[in-house]
């Protein structure tokens, strides 16, 4: 049975991450947000201290923990003034390495020790395309075998952290959609060394006002050559391998949302206790107190699902429903908590100096990404409840 009980290791991990993150004050994050700059110094310190190796096996130089612990690291990162940008600048490596560890050949696994040591970044995952969106089997980026290598052409959109990564997990078709029997067949995963991509990948940033520190990009891929030994897993079976990455991703993002949600509530509660209007603390008003209590309750409930999903994932058991539900519940709870925090702080909640407006902006992202709430409901309706497929 899964448990939410924290081990000594978990508590030490939490404290160590908190202390590391505390070196980066709110001013640092405000400045990065205003300048739309990646938190390079912060990420470098995380890398230098070995945190990117949290769920890399010990034989490859990592700490050998699992998704539960990776999610704890991310939860603590987001429970700081860095919010979801602090965790979002770092999180892709944690889910990307899961698939590299499980399906990578020895050639691909050679990268793992360097990722664990913080010498290489594996922060990019390229799935979505303009014509496919959440319908991943519809991707059209095509990899064609030529001797001992693949030549890849296509376009990807909304690919984060490409400008700050050395490696990228690229999802491409090795058999066109029109030629496969099952629509989920014919997809293959490639490990792309971005340092060697040269002009084969053109990166165009897609600016947004939600998460301004972390770049999101369009990629134009033209005649990108990837060695055959950089295929991760089985050729044509990449979609099924990918499901494991996205489950890890959902669990980690759920943890990030829970971390920020709790942090924001603590900020709002502190304010509500001290802000006096009409001769009493505003927290004495149920219109302020009840929504915060409700936000807290929603986060606690989401956290149970997050730990259940993490437990199943770490045990090698199916967890698609739980991972999706955890992401759904945590994203809703976090957004609600941030929204109520804005309401509690009033005008100050929208002032840059309190950071609450940034948290509120950033929390909106996970209602939409990496998969929309609507697609999760579709998945549950069809795959879990057995209702007719609606799409």
């Amino acid at each position: 049975m899964y448990t939410q009980a924290q081990t000594e290791e978990h508590m030490m991990i939490r404290k160590a991450v908190r202390e590391l993150a505390s070196k980066y004050p709110p001013e640092y994050w405000r400045m990065k947000d205003e300048r739309r700059e990646y938190p390079e110094e912060f990420i470098r310190e995380l890398m230098r201290e070995g945190w990117m190796g949290v769920n890399i096996p010990a034989e490859y130089g990592g700490a050998g923990y699992k998704i539960t612990e990776a999610s704890i690291v991310l939860e603590e990162l987001s429970a700081t003034s860095g919010g979801l940008s602090a965790s979002g600048a770092a999180h892709a490596s944690f889910f990307n390495v899961t698939i590299l560890t499980k399906y990578g050949n020895e050639e691909c696994k050679k990268y793992l020790p360097k990722i664990a040591k913080g010498e290489l970044r594996f922060q990019a995952l390229a799935i979505t395309e303009q014509s496919a969106g959440f319908d991943t089997p519809r991707i059209s980026t095509l990899a064609v075998k030529r001797g001992g290598e693949y030549v890849i052409n296509g376009r990807k959109v909304f690919i984060s952290r490409v400008k700050h990564s050395d490696l990228m997990l690229l999802v491409a078709r090795t058999t066109p959609y029109s030629e496969v029997k099952r629509r989920t067949d014919g997809i293959t995963l490639f490990l792309v060394d971005l340092r060697k991509a040269n002009d084969s990948i053109t990166v165009r940033e897609i600016p947004n006002n939600v998460r301004r520190m972390v770049d999101t990009n369009e990629l134009i891929i033209e005649n990108l050559v990837v060695p055959e030994n950089h295929v991760i897993g089985e050729v044509g079976k990449g979609f099924y391998h990918l499901l494991e990455v996205v489950n890890a991703e959902r669990i980690e993002i759920a943890a990030e949302c829970i971390g920020l949600g709790r942090y924001v509530i603590s900020r709002a509660v502190e304010y509500a206790k001290n802000r006096v209007v009409f001769d009493r603390p505003i927290g004495m008003n149920q219109a302020i107190a009840h929504p915060l209590a409700e936000a807290y309750m929603r986060l606690e409930a989401a956290d149970l699902m997050r730990y259940k999903a993490a437990h199943l994932y770490d045990s090698g058991l199916p967890c698609g429903a739980e991972a999706n539900m955890a992401k759904y519940l945590a994203a809703e709870a976090c957004y609600y908590a941030c929204d109520r925090a804005v309401q509690t702080l009033g005008g100050y909640g929208l002032s840059v100096e309190t950071d609450i407006e940034r948290f509120w902006r950033e929390s909106r992202l996970y209602i939409l990404a990496p998969i929309s709430q609507e697609m999760i409901l579709n998945y549950l309706s069809h795959n879990i409840l057995g209702l007719p497929k609606s799409y």
């Binding site: 000594e8 030490m12 404290k15 160590a16 590391l20 949290v54 010990a58 700490a63 923990y65």
Partner: protein, 259 residues
């Protein structure tokens, strides 16, 4: 390769303590426990010495209820092992009792060349543990050390004193007490946290240390603990800025003389 024992004390985090609004007694339930700040500096110094010259770093800790997690954190910083005792009578304010119990734990840690302690604890600030341990073991004691070197089996210590810098030297074994200035304690890295779970924490009963409860009876007891009540005067000065400055200066001089 000096073997080093570091004394660490688990204290309440006094920075989180707030006085009860009426009784002025500190509300301990609102504050978490932590390792006393100076003791982390002592541990950091021990780890740096080991990194340069090898040896073993043991941690010893005695208190009413030692939280193993905090001890595990010292192992995650890099200590090799820990020796601890929890006993209700160790909630004492008596430096003699503390040093007596710690000396027994030091003996359990085995051979040692150097004992490192924080100058004082975060909560009591009695400055007694280091000197008393030196007395018990009959070894030299260097206090207020801000820089420490070991060469040819001797310690060389830089001590920042009010009248200037003292540089002192002594043979080992010895006891050295340090403050915040000597270093910045490291944060445990992920791999060290992982490694710490396999390091031993030896927990003892009083009888294991050859001690009786009578020996823990304090000769000093705490009678009362209260925050100082400070009230603002709420004096409002009015007038032109230059006149105000003069009035303010007068008040400050008068207050200073009154003290």
């Amino acid at each position: 390769m000096p073997d080093i024992v570091v004394c660490v004390k688990q204290t309440v985090d006094v920075y989180q303590l707030k006085p009860h609004p009426e009784t002025l007694e500190p509300v301990f339930s609102q504050a978490q426990s932590k390792i006393s700040d100076f003791d982390l500096n002592a541990l950091e110094e021990a780890l740096r010495i080991r990194e340069k010259g090898g040896g073993r770093v043991s941690v010893v800790s005695a208190g009413p209820s030692i939280n193993q997690l905090l001890i595990r954190e010292t192992l995650a910083m890099g200590a090799d092992e820990a020796h601890i005792i929890s006993h209700p009578l160790l909630s004492t304010y008596d430096g003699r009792v503390t040093a007596t119990v710690l000396s027994k734990l030091v003996e359990k840690a085995g051979r040692w060349d150097l004992i490192l302690c924080g100058e004082a604890s975060l909560d009591n600030s009695d400055y007694q543990t280091g000197p008393r341990l030196a007395e018990i073991f009959g070894v030299p004691h260097l206090a207020y050390v801000t820089k420490l070197e070991i060469s040819d089996g001797r310690l060389k210590a830089w001590k920042s004193m009010e009248d200037g810098l003292h540089v002192a030297s002594c043979s080992m074994p010895a006891v050295v007490t340090v403050g915040l200035e000597i270093n910045t304690p490291r944060l445990p890295s992920l791999l060290m946290i992982r490694a710490a779970t396999k390091k031993p924490i030896h927990e003892y009963r009083l009888s294991d240390l050859g001690l009786t409860e009578e020996e823990l009876n304090p000769s000093v007891t705490l009678r009362e603990l209260k925050a100082l009540k400070v009230e603002r005067r709420r004096v409002k000065l009015e007038g032109k800025p230059e006149e105000l400055a003069e009035k303010l200066a007068d008040i400050l001089v008068r207050e200073a003389l009154a003290r």
